[in-house]
């Protein structure tokens, strides 16, 4: 996984509440058995005027000129400014995959849906929660100034605005650590393999009906 330390980047708006995972990456693209290549289909139904198909070359598709990401001023954005309950809906990790593949490394919103929030950290994306009033101000500043950029410092847990304002955010220690180092969760967990075995042995003894009921080990 890519690590995340400090990001200084162009900001793009997604100015609506409850952006769900069906909007972020519509279901027809979930048929892919790969982890990459979802970027061109990020926000597909809002971004294009036609119906997208998996595997299709998107370069010639008609763009929706109203959609912010299609406007030249937001080209190359790496920070997405969003509203309440961003990422609600399904558990599809294709949502952060699509955001990351497009180029977003940080999403700022007043709140996120739990599963999406968690999935971001597994893919090198930092979701930042800031108060709704602060996000409002950022939207105003973003719309007022073309080329609006923000600096996001994970170590310091700070978002820094162009006029020098410092906005602190919370992130839990474990997730912060893994993202800063770009650690592979599985590798870290397997360092506790002995503890898992020990738990498992005790649990099997205590609750034998939870073991060997399915598959080749069936009793």
């Amino acid at each position: 996984m890519k690590s995340f330390t400090v990001l200084e980047g162009l900001v793009a708006p997604m100015d609506r509440a409850n952006v769900d995972t069906d909007m972020i990456i519509p279901k027809q693209f979930l048929k892919s058995i790969k982890r990459s290549g979802f970027g061109p289909n990020l926000f597909d139904e809002m971004r294009y005027l036609d119906e997208g198909q998996p595997g299709q070359d998107c370069s010639g598709r008609p763009l929706n000129p109203e959609f912010p990401l299609n406007q030249p001023r937001y080209r190359g954005a790496t920070v997405l400014l969003a509203r309440e309950n961003f990422g609600c809906g399904s558990s599809r990790e294709h949502a952060p995959w699509a955001l990351e593949d497009y180029g977003f490394r940080c999403i700022i919103a007043p709140s996120f849906a739990d599963i999406f929030y968690n999935n971001c950290f597994k893919n090198g994306i930092l979701p930042v929660v800031l108060p709704a009033t602060t996000v409002d101000k950022l939207f105003t500043a973003l719309y007022a100034e073309e080329g609006y950029r923000l600096a996001i410092d994970l170590e310091a847990q700070e978002v820094r605005t162009p006029d020098g304002e410092v906005l602190r955010f919370e992130v839990d220690v474990a997730r912060k650590h893994c993202l800063l180092k770009g650690l592979d969760d599985i590798g870290v967990t397997l360092e506790s393999a002995a503890a898992i075995r020990q738990f498992e042995d005790r649990w099997r003894e205590q609750s034998p009906w939870l073991f060997n009921m399915i598959g080749r080990g069936q009793v």
Binding site: P26, A113, D114
Partner: protein, 477 residues
């Protein structure tokens, strides 16, 4: 010291390691797998040269992509016409074979929607931790299990380590007191709760559903309720174990029997919140106050009783809410002040992990019996949740009632809930759907979804528009 909630107990029982940074390693008893969110996880294992930690914890079944028409299903995986879907289902078969994971294949009578199959086979048991790469895994909490959806990275993590790194959630109690009016179901309770607390109301919480109404629900109804916890923002919803739970579990394929059953039953007696347990948040509703519910917008919280009227965004004080409502009204092709019962329907979908169990089909059939769908309706689909539900329904003659009414009787799968297969809405079409999400484009690009209970969907199919199920007269024979 205060007592423990059901969630606290399930968490404690599965805690492998509490870490200083606040995270914890939680042991996973059951991992359910389907074709959409698993291929990249298996690929990850391959690339890292890892093997599943424990084979017997896993059970796989294809559901999202499978066709539901009989002729397309007849050819098995090879018969799936959409080649991208076919490859995904084939990949699940291949991965399960390569990694020696038990799979219920496409045309096995036990195949169906993973959240119907798990409890039905006894693969979900009380006291378990259950995960699946699907947000509606909250369904399994109905059995007194700690169950929630995970992303694909976590699917790989569970396969490789049998554990998940978790942060403990806060506790929320949703208590529904009293009793329900006739015709009001678990689905209406779920929608009423979401309407009450909002789609982000449960974010950060594990919900326990309790109260007389919940206690009196069947297991099917409890699954419907827990299923939609995620639509209230909560990854997991759960219900304490009681006699209803035990009666449901006993005798199922993967459930314990004999002496093992006795031991399990004794252990499960503790699976309830202590009387002095403290919840971080308590929400109470009165069952008598809940009317049949219909969603009008593109978020499940945009819901009203069937006798309600589409709201006027201009009357809303909150700017974000106002713009969301305005957008939803435009997308849905409605006008403020319009009666819910005036919404004309093009299609009806009865199915999904929310409402495709035998009780749901019985409720729909009871409404449809002796009647015919409205001539204005383009399609009314009935998609059973599993091959076993289908067989049971056919043994009871329910399929004949649906067919006589002009409805289609399909093969099991997720179908039009998310339209990954051929079952979808056309642009601008209104659908009364027993599924769980009314997001823009969810059931097909431009499609307009209204979430309702099976009985309400059936009644809407007959009338061609929404009707209050409580006012429905018996058909004259």
């Amino acid at each position: 010291m205060a007592g423990l909630t059901l969630y606290d107990k399930l968490w404690r029982n599965h805690l492998v390691e509490q870490r200083e940074d606040g995270s914890a390693l939680i042991y996973i008893d059951r991992h359910l797998i389907h074709e959409v969110t698993s291929p990249q996880a298996f690929e990850g294992l391959r690339l890292a040269g890892r093997k599943p930690w424990r084979l017997d914890a896993n059970l796989a079944v294809p559901d999202h992509n499978v066709p539901t028409s009989r002729d397309e299903r007849a050819g098995g995986v090879a018969g799936i016409r959409d080649q991208v879907s076919r490859l995904q289902v084939q990949t699940l078969d291949d991965n399960c074979r390569d990694f020696e994971i038990e799979e219920i294949p496409i045309n096995d009578v036990r195949q169906g929607i993973v959240h119907v199959v798990g409890p039905e086979q006894g693969a979900t048991l009380p006291g378990m931790t259950v995960v699946c790469g699907d947000s509606h895994t909250s369904t399994h909490g109905a059995l007194g299990a700690l169950a929630h959806g995970i992303g694909t990275s976590e699917v790989e993590h569970v396969l490789a380590t049998q554990c998940l790194i978790q942060q403990k959630m806060k506790n929320m109690l949703v208590r529904v007191d009293g009793c329900l009016q006739p015709g009001v179901t678990a689905k209406d309770v779920a929608l009423a709760v979401i309407g009450h607390i909002g789609t982000a109301g449960g974010t950060g919480y594990a919900i326990e559903f309790a109260g007389e109404v919940v206690r009196s629900l069947t297991m099917e109804g409890r699954m419907t309720l827990c299923n939609m916890s995620i639509e209230a923002g909560a990854r997991m919803g759960m219900i304490a174990v009681d006699q209803t739970t035990l009666d449901y579990v006993k005798g199922r394929t993967y459930a314990p029997s004999g002496a093992l059953w006795d031991a399990a039953q004794a252990a499960w007696a503790d699976l309830h919140s202590d009387a002095d347990a403290v919840f971080d948040k308590v929400v109470t509703l009165r069952g008598e106050d809940i009317l049949p519910q219909v969603t009008w917008g593109n978020s499940p919280e945009m819901v009203l009783p069937v006798n309600g009227y589409v709201p006027d965004p201009q009357a809303m004080e909150n700017a974000t809410q106002r713009s969301a409502a305005q957008r939803a009204i435009e997308y849905m092709g409605l006008t403020p002040g319009m009666a819910i019962t005036d919404i004309r329907l093009d299609r009806v979908f009865i199915g999904s992990c929310t409402n495709s169990r035998i009780e749901d089909l019985r409720a729909a059939a009871a409404v449809v019996r002796g009647r015919h769908v409205a001539p204005t309706l383009k399609q009314a689909l009935v998609v059973p949740g599993s091959g076993q539900v289908k067989a049971q329904a056919e043994a009871e003659g329910l399929h004949e009632i649906f067919l006589a009414a002009g409805m289609e009787w399909r093969e099991p799968g997720c179908s039009m809930c998310l339209a990954m297969n051929a079952d979808k809405l056309g642009a601008g079409e209104h659908c009364a759907s027993t599924s769980n999400r009314n997001f823009e484009g969810r059931q097909g690009i431009g499609g307009r979804t209204h979430l309702v209970s099976p009985a309400m969907a059936a009644a809407a199919a007959i009338a061609g528009h929404f009707v209050d199920i409580r006012n429905l007269q018996e058909p004259t024979q």
